[in-house]
């Protein structure tokens, strides 16, 4: 044994291994030259073969965030299956590797490293909270990966390695405030949120806009994540009598807040005060209960009740795939856009190469998006419309307003650092 292993030691051994690796590589090259586009399709050592291309899905399916991220996983899988049924991307079927971020930010970082270095995925659809995105961002930038991120978020970020398919804060907030001011004659606002970066940045943007319109912010309050007792702040709201409660409470706190608001005798259908939320999608209403939030307004880009044909088909396909009782919220739809936007960019670039996909991304249009029509901006966010929905007892939103034009994404609004 010992003498036999001798020839392979040191530099000779390395050369042997190189030769060994060169053989399949040569075969692959030979194969590649048979198909016309294969050469240019893969130049970076990504997990692309003649028949398949591998992408990653990185969400929490365990832990606290599983509540929210489950819908995104379902949407991304549905989009991938539909793309495959249409023949795939550049003639290749999409295969996915799913990893669980487990609601833990270091785990997200570790799993993204695995998806990029070991699995060499051509794109990753994933993350939900800003914290998880911030955790994987340096890894995507270092190893040059491409992340499609679905959640509406606070903005103040723009990475060459991320496409943001949800709205950034100004798109969601400004249109909502303009609408309550114009249509409901709102003069004073009470800003209420959970205590972390997204509600705080959102309220900062909201406050600035409200004050610019010459109106009054009568209160701004934050409660720790997971807070379950809102009776005191509800009394405070009753005392201040604002026209609008602008709410960005999240998670389990949401359920407590709306149940207690209703129990305290604030009938949201009377709109005194009116509740405008940016954090309650149809998903959250499942937990809150439609009867407890009936009458509140939400400002978002997508509601399940949109009546365009794209959305009808999408809702039908989604229910066929994941069950008839399922509901689809804003983020789920945004997650569904990810694989389609990636497909369009790859086809425009004629290559899976990350740099080429990045260069091809701005200007990509999606006419088949359930929300209607979206276009990728130079800053990697989407042009999109904002809609106002009125919560109904059955857990759906009735759409009462939609912006006329697409709103330009502005992740770095003037005056925020």
């Amino acid at each position: 044994m010992h003498s036999k292993s001798q020839p392979f030691s040191g530099t000779r051994r390395r050369r042997f291994l190189q030769n060994l690796l060169a053989v399949p590589a040569a075969i692959m090259l030979a194969n590649a030259s048979l198909t016309a586009h294969a050469d240019s399709a893969n130049t970076t050592g990504l997990a692309v073969t003649d028949k398949t291309v591998t992408v990653g899905i990185l969400h929490s399916v365990t832990g606290t965030m599983a509540i929210s991220e489950t819908g995104s996983v379902q949407a991304e899988k549905l989009a991938i299956e539909q793309i495959n049924a249409m023949g795939g991307v550049l003639g290749r079927k999409i295969e996915y590797i799913q990893e669980d971020g487990a609601s833990d930010w270091p785990t997200f970082a570790e799993k993204s490293k695995k998806l990029l270095i070991k699995d060499k995925t051509a794109a990753v659809f994933g993350c939900w909270t800003s914290a998880s995105r911030k955790a994987v961002l340096p890894i995507f930038e270092q190893y040059n990966g491409m992340l499609y991120y679905p959640t509406f978020y606070e903005g103040l970020e723009q990475s060459p390695n991320v496409i943001y398919t949800g709205q950034e804060a100004t798109q969601q907030i400004l249109a909502g405030i303009d609408w309550v001011v114009k249509e409901k004659g709102a003069k004073s606002f009470f800003l209420l949120g959970s205590d972390y970066i997204w509600p705080r940045t959102s309220n900062k943007i909201a406050r600035k806009h409200i004050e610019k319109l010459g109106l009054k912010v009568s209160g701004e309050e934050y409660y720790p994540l997971g807070h379950t007792q809102f009776n005191s702040v509800i009394n405070k709201i009753k005392l201040k009598k604002p026209d609008v409660i602008f709410a960005s409470v999240v998670g389990g706190s949401n359920v407590a807040f709306y149940k207690q608001l209703k129990a305290a005798g604030i009938d949201m259908t009377k709109e005194k005060p009116l509740v405008l939320t940016i954090s309650v999608t149809e998903d959250e209403i499942l937990g809150i209960g439609g009867e407890n939030i009936e009458g509140a307004y939400a400002s978002m880009k997508y509601f399940q009740s949109l009546t365009n044909d794209n959305n009808k088909n999408f809702v039908k396909a989604f229910k066929e795939r994941w069950g008839k009782d399922i509901v689809i919220g804003d983020v789920t739809q945004a997650a569904y856009l990810g694989p389609w936007l990636w497909k369009a960019a790859v086809e425009k670039a004629g290559s899976f190469d990350i740099d080429k996909v990045r260069a091809a991304s701005p200007g990509i249009e999606l006419k088949t998006a359930p929300e209607g029509y979206v276009r990728v901006h130079e800053n990697h966010h989407l042009w999109s419309k904002t809609r106002i929905g009125n919560a109904q007892a059955d857990g759906q939103y009735k759409i009462v307003y939609e912006t006329k034009d697409l709103i330009e994404p502005d992740p770095f609004p003037a005056g925020y650092k």
Binding site: V61, T62, G63, T64, A66, I67, T70, D195, E220, E221, Y222, Y223, P224, G226, H227, T228, Q229, N231, S232, V233, I234, N235, K236, K238, L239, G251, G252, N254, V255, A256, K259, Q260, K262, A263, A264, G265, D283, I285, L286, G287, I288, G289, G290, E291, N292
Partner: protein, 308 residues
């Protein structure tokens, strides 16, 4: 802050605020009682307390679904039956857990902490598998929703009244049971001197199991009641656990009166500060106060003087 308001408005706000404090007090007592019994009487730190509460909430959810399906005529009263179910199911699981895990660890209190924490993770994942990762919406009978308008300005949440009533009934019930019933007397005897209690013929193992089951059962009832004010999801139990431990430790672990007094102090402090300051600041100040007092009185507000 108050200059712009009339006297009546201020009076009614203060009345409602006082009431908000009392509701918070009831909620604290209800969630801490089960833990206080287990911690105080047995010295077991039950990290899975929140998950037992959520089990109660899920039982309520199932009962409500069942009633809506098969017994819509008496749907309005399902909540009482749900609470009884919640008690039975969580108490049964508590007894099972005591038999399977806890009784092997009585001499190793730190290990019970780890074991029950592991149990809480297992239960969370179990709920996630059975009920799905999303929160479930528990539909409440109409009479429990909304508020009772005392006059034009004062509105009292009905579910708050309900929680208060429930808390009084359960606290009095537990106190009576501890003082008067056979199990209560046996439990106290075991707490005070285990070998002696065994020597006079008390089956200490059975007493342990019953006490643990009782604590879990009360957690179940609390969880059932909290479907009115909070969320029901796999990890919702975690929302309550910190406050619960705070109340029990602050009150002095082995005293039920201490638990009630501590719940009162913390709830009043918190709800008053939440009104005058912001939510996060109020929480920080409450925690600082509690830490400060515990530094001066490590045994908590009340402590029984017993011979170990």
């Amino acid at each position: 802050m108050f200059a712009d308001y009339t006297m009546t408005e201020l009076t009614s706000i203060f009345a409602m605020q006082g009431f908000a404090g009392l509701i918070l007090f009831s909620v604290f007592v209800l969630m801490a009682l089960g833990l206080a019994i287990i911690f105080g009487q047995m010295g077991v730190i039950n990290m899975a307390h929140g998950e037992f509460m959520i089990l109660g909430a899920y039982v309520t959810y199932l009962t409500s679904t069942l009633f809506a399906e098969y017994l819509p005529s008496i749907y309005d009263s399902y909540f009482f039956i749900a609470m009884i179910f919640a008690f039975i199911v969580t108490a049964a699981l508590g007894a099972l857990v005591e038999w399977a895990i806890i009784r092997h660890l009585y001499k190793r209190p730190l290990d019970t902490l780890l074991a029950t924490w592991g149990l809480s993770l297992i239960l969370q994942q179990l709920y996630r598998t059975v009920f799905g990762a999303r929160e479930v919406g528990v539909t409440l009978p109409d009479w429990l929703m909304g508020s009772y308008a005392l006059n034009e300005n004062i509105e009292i949440p009905i579910n708050g009244l309900f929680v208060m009533g429930l808390t009084i009934v359960i606290t009095v019930g537990v106190a009576l049971m501890m003082q008067k019933s056979r199990l209560g007397k046996q439990t106290r005897a075991v707490v005070q001197n285990r070998p002696m209690a065994a020597a006079v013929g008390i089956n200490t193992e059975k007493v342990d199991r019953m006490t643990f089951a009782l604590g879990c059962g009360i957690a179940g009832i609390a969880g059932s009641a909290f479907t009115m004010i909070g969320s029901t999801g796999p990890t919702s139990g975690q929302l309550y656990i910190v406050d619960t431990f705070l109340v029990v430790v602050f009150g002095g672990a082995s005293s039920l009166i201490g638990t009630v007094a501590s719940a009162f102090t913390i709830s009043q402090a918190q709800s008053t500060m939440e009104f005058f300051l912001s939510g996060s600041t109020a929480k920080v100040l409450t925690l600082l106060t509690v830490v400060g007092i515990l530094m001066l009185r490590p045994q908590g507000l009340f402590s029984l003087k017993i011979r170990r």
